[in-house]
């Protein structure tokens, strides 16, 4: 069984730095789970504790039904691809791949057959006699994957394995890892700080910050229903526009004011007053280029235009040197300095309270007017 259960897992380093705070999590067998978060959020430490490379301060780790806290890394039936790949530089590719079977004291003949099989799976047969130093980034990546594959672990742990590759190769390798998961149907735990990687690969994303899990969910759920300001800001490229301001209620009508910008609100709105943050994703800002402003439109000067080909990013000024980013289709022709009308899609506006938590329209906390 390749399921994983973390129970009250905690890691405190010398000097009192808490890397992982009481974490509880169940990862189902065959699932592709991505731990994502900024540097120092505890994602790699969690992975290393699962691998047995770091000892938990408290809590239990189960792989299948087995409590593995006291097991050596080699006894946990896991495979791991490291960020720097950790290929043994003094061994050929074949010896690197065959290292696991060699440690298992497998017959040389059987070992050679397994090495050939693993090499075939990741298309590196011609490289078997080379040394790691003679490989390109992508080839080295494949060797690291093959070395992990050959021991047929129940759980694959991948610690930012693509971070040293260029953008194009990264996308290719990402697709290969995805394909590998689909073929092997084993549990994959992948650590990254790249939200795009997390979105494309994961069955389930675990967002971490300050050693705590902020949100667990499938990629679209995380993107569309962030539980707090941090998750909303972390996912999406460009990230969500977050406007600090306050709710206003006048004559029963709600609006949100951020500096000079006043957004009239209709439909379900969190029933509260005072400081809050309004969030709107760039693709949920509608731009209107008509000369005559539409009724209810907001107006802004376009400070900057960034054509990306398929899309174009518009930086809209809404206060003292504050900008909103909007995405329009690439064929729109807008000049910097021009004025445009825009509106927020009502059902796509998010609100976050001063404690960063998302405010839902149903919510009726104290202080409701």
């Amino acid at each position: 069984m390749g399921s994983i259960r973390l129970v009250n897992l905690r890691k405190e380093f010398a000097g009192g730095v808490v890397a992982v705070e009481n974490t509880n999590l169940i990862i189902e067998e065959g699932e592709f789970v991505v731990f994502v978060g900024p540097s120092g959020c505890g994602k790699t430490t969690t992975l290393r504790m699962i691998a047995g490379l770091e000892e938990p301060t408290s809590g239990q780790i189960y792989i299948g039904d087995r409590l593995v806290n006291d097991l050596e890394p080699g006894q946990r039936d896991i495979g791991m691809v490291f960020q720097n790949l950790a290929l043994f530089p003094h061994m050929t590719v074949a010896d690197n791949i065959g290292f696991g079977p060699r440690m298992q004291k497998m017959e040389p003949k059987e070992r050679r057959r397994r090495v050939a099989d693993a090499a075939r799976m990741v298309h590196i047969e011609p490289l078997l006699l080379k040394l790691p130093g003679q490989l390109s980034g992508g080839e080295a990546q494949r060797v690291a994957v093959a070395r992990t594959l050959i021991t047929e672990p129940r759980v694959f742990l991948l610690d930012e394995p693509l971070s040293n590759l260029d953008a194009k190769l990264r996308k290719e390798m990402r697709a290969e890892i995805d394909r590998l998961h689909q073929n092997l149907k084993k549990t994959f735990i992948y650590v990254t700080h790249d939200q795009e990687e997390a979105m494309t690969l994961a069955d389930r994303i675990i967002v971490m910050r300050y050693g705590r899990i902020e949100q667990v969910g499938n990629p679209l759920d995380i993107y569309h229903n962030p539980v707090n300001w941090f998750v909303a800001d972390f996912f999406g490229s460009p990230s969500m526009n977050l406007l600090k301001g306050e709710f206003r209620w006048e004559l029963g009508a709600a609006s949100f004011r951020a500096g000079e910008l006043c957004v009239p609100l209709s439909g379900p709105v969190p029933k509260r007053e005072g400081a809050a943050t309004l969030g709107i994703r760039p693709e949920h800002i509608d731009i209107h280029l008509e000369r005559v402003p539409r009724d209810g439109d907001l107006r802004a000067r376009v400070a900057l235009v960034e054509p990306l080909g398929k899309d174009t990013l518009l930086y809209l000024e809404y206060g003292d040197s504050k900008n909103l980013i909007a995405i329009v289709e690439g064929h729109h022709y807008v000049q910097a300095g021009s004025w445009v009308g825009y509106s927020f899609r009502r059902d796509r506006i998010y609100f976050f309270g001063p404690d960063e938590r998302r405010l839902l329209p149903e919510e009726a906390p104290s202080g409701t007017p």
Partner: protein, 294 residues
């Protein structure tokens, strides 16, 4: 001045400085070799005899084959019989064993420091401080202890002293090599089923082999050419070549430069031979860390 002229002048200056440096370095070695082949009257002749003429093997014969009899200074002492082959054997055993032990212990200690921080930086520095005091400061109490323990003038006694005295260098040098090996390599090996010790033996050690060889040579040079402790703590049984060399300093016949040089060549050659045999490792060892490893 054109750019090309400037470049040429700079090349000339560079070569001039290097040539001068080469002369300063090589000349004493040449003079030692030349003196070994000179007749006694040419040793201190003025103007100097640049090339031995005729070259003689008398000095070698007297030092290495026959038993040369020298006595000490103005005092009338019984003649000391010099047995250079005995000294050579002592040097090989003492310096060789101390080098192997020092590097072996140093490697283990350095691994602990590098991977498990068993010594703080301050402690590591303290370790180096061991080498900062003059050896004679230690020599006197050591002689007292050693005489009680019956370790004076023994191989074991000298090996222990040299091992301890060179250990700081072994630790510092090998630690710098181990630091260069990413810890993930060992962790990858452990995940693939290797024990910690096995990962150290089959991953770390082969990767720092050149560094270890370079450290061995460095420690060997230190122990091979050590004089002061050898002089104080040995008499006849465990006397090493450098101590024997000093016997020619003040003989009744004056300073025996030719004999001393003939013996010096014997002291120097083993190190040169070892250096040549392992020069590939040396280049790699001393440039360790300058090459990016994946």
């Amino acid at each position: 001045m054109t750019r090309q002229t400037r470049r040429q002048l700079s090349a000339v200056a560079r070569h001039a400085v290097l040539s001068l440096w080469l002369i300063v370095t090589v000349f004493p070695i040449y003079w030692m070799v030349a003196t070994a082949f000179k007749l006694p009257e040419q040793w201190l002749a003025w103007p100097p005899v640049w090339f031995p003429s005729p070259p003689t093997l008398e000095n070698f014969a007297q030092v290495w084959v026959g038993t040369s009899v020298v006595s000490s200074g103005d005092q009338v002492l019984p003649p000391i019989s010099l047995e250079p082959l005995h000294g050579l054997r002592n040097s090989v055993v003492i310096a060789g064993t101390a080098t192997l032990l020092s590097v072996a212990f140093g490697l283990l200690l350095a691994y602990g420091v590098s991977r498990y921080q068993i010594l703080s930086e301050r402690r590591m520095f303290n370790l180096l401080m061991l080498r900062m005091m003059p050896p004679i400061v230690i020599a006197i109490p050591l002689v007292l202890w050693y005489s009680t323990l019956h370790l004076l003038d023994t191989w074991v006694g000298m090996i222990v002293v040299y091992t301890i005295f060179t250990l700081p260098y072994s630790v510092w040098m090998t630690k710098s090599f181990i630091d260069e090996v990413p810890v993930e390599l060992e962790q990858a090996a452990q995940i693939l089923g290797a024990s910690k010790l096995r990962a150290f033996a089959i991953i770390v050690v082969p990767l720092i082999r050149s560094g270890v060889v370079a450290t061995c040579l460095f420690i060997l040079i230190l122990t091979w050419s050590e004089y002061l402790l050898g002089l104080v703590m040995t008499a006849a049984e465990a006397q090493t070549l450098p101590v024997q060399l000093s016997k020619f300093e003040g003989t009744q016949e004056g300073r025996q430069f030719g004999l001393q040089s003939a013996l010096s060549i014997g002291v120097t050659i083993p190190l040169i031979v070892i250096g040549l045999l392992i020069h590939k490792h040396l280049v790699r060892g001393f440039s360790f860390g300058m090459i990016r490893r994946r």
